[in-house]
Amino acid sequence: MPDAATLYGLLGIVLAGLGAHAAIVQRDSIRRLLAINVMGVGVFLVLIATAYFGPNQDPDPIPHALVLTGIVVAVAATALALALLRAFERSDDE
Amino acid sequence: MTEMLILAVVVLGATFALALLGMLRQGTPTDRILIAQLLGSNGVGLLLLLALLQEQLALLDVALVLAILSVVVVIAFTRRGKEQADA
Amino acid sequence: MGVMLTERSLSTLKRGAALALIWLVIAGPEPGSWIIGLPAVLFATWVSLLLAPPLRHRIRLLPTLAFVRYFLVESLRGGVDVARRTLSPRLRIAPGQIEYQSSLPEGAFMLLFGACVSLLPGTLTARVEGRSLTLHALDIGSDPLAQLEELEERIRAMLRERGEGYGD
């Protein structure tokens, strides 16, 4: 019987794979961005799963801190990407 | 007690998943916005139970934030439609 | 207190007090929390007043409590009703739209009215324009108008025009 950490960890890996695949296969920028974000969630899941020791046990805080950092970084990047996208669409026939 | 709580959590999770998947299946676009609403109620319920189960009162704060943000998401969704109608 | 409180500062105080109470509820009793709490409450109050100007009506306490009780019961009924309808094998619904003209003052109370309608059995507010309300009813045959009127009456009971109770 696998435990929760394994389950979520594996889910994370699969999500990362799905994200990576879509990021390569999809051609639309917004879709790619979504894919990369999904991939990020997958990686974060692996980290958090690693930190999880049980429903009533304190987890390892370091991966938590890492993932927090990762989320902020991911949002920053997403924001920049979307701004670029919108600027691109505005810059029609320059 | 704990076992019953676990049972409750599982049932709620299943209910939630069922509703979500159902909505995804039949989905008109607005149905998907409904999902955010659903998250506001089911998600918060799930968090409350988890708070008890995992003895983590901090999850109440998460529930609070989730409740607020699910509305924000609803507003964001629907405002979009408004703009579009204006356009 | 030498200075007579103006209407505005009074409602500001009330708003502030309500928000401070909420802070207390979410942040807990620790006094240190007010280091952040005080500025947060002040800021929130300011913003709140900016967004939603003070009401022109006063709320009466007892009818309000009665309203809360009514509301709780109705929403319980609403939940049970919708559960019964969905769980019945034939899915007893006959959806339809209704327009409703309210006599409540425009603004906050209309909004409250709209919100509460959504929690009553079988009705859902779909649009509020001024005093007119577009409703969606789950069972158009069950005559939702009666309960709407009751709701409107109870809301009206809660409020009192400003100046009604006090002199100028």
């Binding site: 961005l33 990686v43 990047a77 | - | -």
Partner: protein
């Protein structure tokens, strides 16, 4: 000692904050910050020479719990490269931007990029590297889009996506490593890696991510548009410095974190890709119609050399030849940094003067800019790998190792690559000698022409004739 390590990161960071808060003084703040952080690198040199390689636990927490900065021969060389190139490019940039608003946006991002590079070269923590990588790529992307042209924005967008994908791959590896070894400190991780599945999986995803970021063929497709559409000083920084970051990390990971994990097949694959990069990049550079595109494809090819060298290094038996190959590799990276930045700056001058950078129409312009043309020639010499450039020495050792290891295919590839490089460089220089309606008027704008020339001279004369100390200095690394 320890202060100087932090200062190389903090000073440009402070500069960036100041420049962001006070954009009117951007040029002054920018040049000052670059100078000061260069001085900090100088200080770091002194301490390194006095005390040898060292590290510092930031915040005073033990590595593992806290983050470690480390400095050794390789990192100080990379830092120095960054400092010098950044200084020259900054001087150039101080007069490059014609629109004030562009200049004001340039400096904070430019300084952030330098801070990120310095941070990356000093980092001793795997997760911290992820953050610095992201800082680097975000500032680089923002700089790429600075021109505001549609093509530049599109290129920046693609660059960003690729960068994100790459760093996600890297981060996946980090996550796996942490879950297995319970630490993020590079040395502590290194002590536990082996040829177990965890190390291998982590190595593969991290390397794949970084290869994407460092544009190794065939993952290079994003680089040419990004590097060729950015403003000239930005292109210089990107091509000279930023792509090196990915390569540097691969180098660190392979040699220090995963020395026992790497498989022969992996090394072979990278060698093959490197060879592909050399041929494809050079060929595309030869086909390019615009100077900047040529320079960008040349970067693809040059990265190929670096990776080929790395692959050879990994497969070389221990010994003097291997140590020397390491030196050669670093020297090639350094030479390329100076040469390529020089090339881009020079192209920028031409673009300014001629209003375009189409190779076929350069005849008239090049002759009026003798110093710039000379810079292009010298940079070109370094890119081809001819004497007296540092790349000549590097390529000599590279070929030496390839021959010693019986890698004749690589020898052939490097040979063809060199000839193609010569072809594309001299395709441009041919125009410099082409006849034109001449009114010989040299421009004498020190800011505009000299940075490129000085960089080119560094790549050729200084690194060619004055770099003998680099090898023994790097000896312990191999």
């Amino acid at each position: 000692m320890n202060e100087s390590m932090s200062l190389t990161i903090i000073l440009p960071l402070l500069g960036a904050l100041l420049a962001a808060a006070w954009p009117r003084r951007g040029v002054f703040i920018g040049i000052t910050a670059v100078l000061l952080s260069g001085l900090a690198v100088g200080w770091l040199w002194f301490s390194l020479l006095a005390d040898g390689p060292s590290h510092q636990a930031l915040g005073g927490w033990d590595p593992g719990l806290g983050i470690r900065l480390q400095v050794d021969a390789l990192s100080i060389l990379m830092l120095s490269m960054t400092a010098l190139v950044a200084l020259a490019v900054s001087v150039y940039a101080s007069h490059y931007f014609t629109r004030r608003s562009q200049a004001e946006r340039f400096w904070p991002l430019w300084l952030l990029m330098i801070a990120a590079l310095n941070g990356l070269f000093l980092a001793g923590d795997l997760f911290n590297l992820y953050v610095t990588l992201e800082l680097l790529s975000l500032s680089a992307v923002a700089l790429t889009a600075l021109g505001g042209k549609r093509a530049g924005i599109a290129a920046a967008l693609r660059y960003l996506m690729i960068g994100l994908l790459g760093s996600m791959g890297y981060l996946a590896g980090v996550a796996l490593l942490y879950s297995a070894f319970g630490t993020l400190d590079m040395q502590q991780v290194a002590a536990q890696t082996g040829d177990d599945p965890v190390s291998q999986a982590a190595l593969i995803v991290m390397t794949a991510g970084l290869l994407l970021k460092s544009a190794l063929f065939p993952l290079h497709f994003w680089l040419p548009p990004a590097h060729s559409n950015a403003p000239a000083p930005v292109s210089a920084g990107l091509s000279a410095l930023v792509v090196k970051a990915g390569f540097y990390l691969v180098l660190r990971l392979w040699t220090e974190v995963f020395p026992d994990t790497l498989s022969t097949q992996g090394v072979t694959l990278v060698a093959v890709l490197g060879g592909g990069a050399i041929l494809w990049g050079s060929w595309q550079a030869l086909q390019a119609e615009r100077l900047k595109l040529l320079a960008a494809y040349s970067t693809v090819a040059q990265l190929g050399y670096l990776f080929v060298a790395l692959a050879l290094f990994m497969s070389a038996p221990p010994g003097v030849a291997r140590e020397l190959l390491f030196g050669a590799l670093v020297l090639m990276a350094l030479t390329h940094a100076f040469a390529k930045s020089s090339l881009f700056l020079a192209i920028g001058v031409i673009q300014h003067r001629a209003g375009h950078d189409r190779i076929a129409e350069l005849d008239g312009t090049a002759q009026r800019l003798p110093a710039t043309t000379f810079a292009i020639a010298l940079a070109g010499v370094a890119l081809i790998g001819l004497p007296p450039s540092g790349a000549f020495l590097g390529k000599w050792r590279l070929l030496y190792s390839a021959i010693s290891l019986d890698q004749w295919l690589l020898v052939v590839v490097i040979g063809i690559g060199s000839l193609l490089a010569a072809a594309y460089v001299f395709r441009v220089l041919g125009h410099a000698f082409g006849r034109s309606a001449l009114s010989v008027q040299a421009i004498h704008s020190v800011h505009e022409e000299w940075p490129a020339l000085l960089l080119a001279l560094t790549a050729t004369l200084l690194l060619g004739f004055g770099s003998a100390w680099i090898w023994p200095f790097l000896e312990h690394m191999a």
